[in-house]
């Protein structure tokens, strides 16, 4: 029944558009509405002509009637589209096949250019059909229909098996159902690649940066003195915690609002460990509200270990680290409330922040706290710089861990990072000259895929 209905409506749409009655969108809407109407009517048991057949449980003449109409309409449409009047479109141009590069296998790319009768030509081509077979002749099954509208087409068939030969047939189709001469191409075999050939430049960059970092770590371990410029915000950490101790007020530490999969949060939790050691030594209350549950678990472990290492396990209690909410502004409201009630003397903002940064920083300023912030979120840096006493900008946040411990291995990694930055600056300067004179090979070499 549904097949009959679809057949009638489908052919009616094709005929009407081909002979120019209404545009494709209007006819498509009518077709869809008719389809929905018939489906609903049938599901409600309301046959249009003879309800008594429905009640009797037999299918009766209604389905036969629909089939008869379907055959009549099909005949009419065939009459409209007789061989003498049908216009066969030109086939797709320059088709080609290849194994999809740099993938895990199971995919083939088929490309072709628009038929001469596509939108730039006579404009009668509506779509392209793609067929696939494992043999050169016969056995082709339709796997896709692509709408027109481009000069060049790419279809990725990702349902193939590796190491098996496939042939493809491409056909251009008009709205009235006329097909072009089929183009058969193949064979092609898909396979998986062991190396992403477009990413070798990134591998090279990774090796250079890693080598530079590891080299300086090795040099630092051998006792080489490494100079790190003073960072005011980090030098003030001890002083800030000391201030809170003297005033008898707590230290508030916020490790950002993102989850542990963000490197800024890892950096924030790493610095928390060091601040927690200080608060443990000075026996200053510490409060760490967090926005994510995984961060809560990590922060609790970090603070507990810090207190244990300093020999003050009794001073630690799990309520130091508390989960508020994942909601951004709910978290901001919660932290503001903590600030106004507990009135910490020192506030640390270390991690990733978004729009709530100024709300937090301004509230912290209003209670007279010393505020030290650090983030790599460039959009929030101006707010922290304005409202906080010290701000760690971008990579200074990642350097904080190394800076606070003075561990030679960590300091070495900072130097290695600087070498990589020097290389980046060199590439920028060289690149400016090359691009200015029309040489693009460096830009192409550095392109990320």
């Amino acid at each position: 029944m549904a097949f009959a209905v679809n057949l009638i409506i489908g052919h009616s749409v094709a005929v009407l558009t081909e002979i120019g009655v209404g545009d494709i969108r209007e006819v498509r809407i009518i077709g869809w509405r008719l389809e929905k109407l018939f489906s609903r009517k049938m599901s409600e048991g309301k046959y249009l002509l003879t309800p008594k057949w429905r009640r009797s449980g037999r299918s009766g003449p209604v389905p036969v009637l629909f089939l008869a109409v379907a055959i009549l309409v099909m005949g009419a449409s065939l009459g409209v589209g007789t061989p003498s009047s049908v216009i066969r479109p030109g086939p797709p141009v320059n088709p080609s096949l290849c194994d999809r590069p740099n993938d895990a296998g199971g995919a083939i790319e088929i490309t072709w250019e628009a038929s001469h009768d596509d939108s730039r030509g006579r404009g009668i081509v509506n779509s392209y059909s793609v067929f696939r077979s494992t043999e050169a002749v016969g056995g082709f099954a339709n796997i896709a229909t692509i709408n027109t509208g481009r000069d060049r087409y790419l279809y990725v068939d990702d349902r193939v098996k590796d190491d098996e030969r496939y042939f493809y047939k491409l056909v251009a189709e008009t709205g009235s159902g006329a097909f072009s001469e089929p183009i058969v191409i193949g064979p092609v075999v898909s396979s998986a690649q062991w190396f992403h050939s477009d990413r070798w430049n990134m591998l090279l960059a990774l090796l250079i940066v890693s080598a530079s970092v590891l080299l300086f770590i090795w040099m630092a371990r051998r006792g080489k003195e490494l100079y790190i410029r003073p960072i005011a915000g980090l030098q003030a950490v001890d002083e800030a915690v000391g201030r809170a101790t003297e005033m008898g007020r707590p230290v508030l530490y916020i490790p950002g609002i993102l989850d542990m999969d963000d490197v800024q949060t890892i950096a924030g939790v790493a610095i928390l460990g060091r601040v927690a050691r200080k608060t443990a030594e000075y026996e200053t209350p510490l409060s760490v509200p967090v926005s994510r549950s995984v961060v809560m678990s990590a922060a609790q472990e970090t603070v507990k270990e810090a207190y244990w290492d300093v020999g003050k396990p009794d001073a630690y209690h799990p309520e130091m680290v508390r989960y508020l909410t994942d909601d951004q502004f709910g978290f901001a409201a919660g932290v503001d409330g903590i600030m106004l009630r507990e009135r910490p003397a020192t506030v640390f903002f270390m991690g990733a922040f978004y729009a709530e940064s100024l709300i937090l920083a301004e509230t912290g300023h209003s209670i007279g706290a010393v505020q030290i912030a650090g983030t790599a979120m460039t959009s929030q840096l101006p707010f922290f710089v304005t409202a906080c006493d010290y701000t760690l900008i971008g990579e200074e946040l990642f350097a904080a861990g190394a800076y606070l411990t003075g561990d030679p291995r960590l300091l070495g990694s900072l130097k290695g990072q600087d070498v990589a930055k020097g290389l980046a600056i060199a590439f920028i300067v060289i690149g400016i000259f090359l691009e200015s004179f029309g040489y693009h090979w460096l830009k192409d070499f550095l392109k990320v895929n």
Partner: protein, 281 residues
């Protein structure tokens, strides 16, 4: 200048500043000034891009924001959808933020009022999908697998618009309305970087400086904040909520500049006073 007044004004209660800001925002909303507005190059570029798409093109629109930023991004979304409907483009909505699906529903409902469009034929709301960048990547393999049903649970296969839209290859333009993470940078990375699609963006005013580096190479256009939304409303000749808010934004900005100037005057006056005070000692 009287030192007492200078000291008092230097450390004025911030609630008085809040009061000034409130008045500066409310009064122009009640009594609009009608200040003239001009579209910036990133907004014009985005408009031209959508305008130049062939009628019937498929635009994928990501509603990656929440109610907090609906004031800025809502009017933007509405203006873009209206433009698409006017040009006869088909719009597929989706969200990487949970609340984005509901905001998409509202935007489509409002935009559809003025145009002869039908759900399922001219536009579809696929709803929210968790997964961030994984979801964006999955659209390159199969949209139907990632979104088998729309926001109301209807099978996507049954929708005329979605029958021939399977992957990025069937999408002509990607538009991301982004308030943070996940958002526009991921769409640029995957949709533009990996699949070569043209990507346009809308973002909050605070995020705009961070996204400017992507324009015009990776982003064909960018609407920043409520001003970006107002500019787009100007370009499509439809005044909306963003245009109405521009006068209030103008006065508020002018007020902030005034406060900064006054604050600096007090700063220099007290600095001079301190110097003179040192000399006397």
């Amino acid at each position: 200048m009287n030192h007492g007044i200078v000291d008092k004004l230097k450390s004025i209660d911030r609630r008085i500043i809040f009061l000034f800001v409130a008045v500066a925002v409310v009064v122009p909303l009640l009594y609009p000034l009608g200040l003239p507005l001009k579209a910036s190059p990133p907004s014009r570029s985005l408009y031209r891009e959508i305008e130049s798409l062939q009628s019937g093109s498929v635009v994928l629109m990501a509603f990656d924001y929440d109610p907090a930023t609906d004031v800025e991004l809502g009017p933007m979304s509405l203006a873009i959808i209206r433009h698409c409907f006017r040009k006869g483009h088909n719009v597929i909505g989706m969200a990487l933020w949970p609340q984005g699906a509901g905001l998409a529903r509202t935007a489509f409902a409002q935009a559809a009022e003025g145009y002869d469009v039908e759900y399922g034929v001219d536009y579809v709301n696929l709803g929210f999908k968790a997964g961030s960048i994984v979801v964006i990547d999955s659209l390159g393999k199969s949209i139907h697998e990632s979104f088998p049903k729309d926001v109301d649970g209807r099978p996507v296969e049954d929708m005329p618009l979605m029958r021939n839209v399977r992957t990025y290859a069937d999408i002509d333009f990607v538009m991301s309305m982004s308030a943070g993470d996940p958002g526009l940078p991921f769409w640029i990375m995957i949709a533009q970087g990996r699949y070569g699609k043209k990507v346009g963006g809308g973002c909050t005013a605070v995020s705009a400086p961070m996204l400017y580096p992507y324009y015009p190479n990776q982003l064909v256009g960018l609407l920043g904040g409520m001003k970006g939304a107002a500019e787009y409303e100007l370009l499509i000749n439809t005044k909306g909520a963003a245009t109405k808010g521009m006068d209030a934004q103008s006065i508020a900005h002018a007020l902030i500049v005034f406060f900064v100037i006054v604050g600096n005057i007090f700063y220099f006056v007290s600095k001079r006073r301190e110097k003179r005070g040192d000399v006397r000692v």
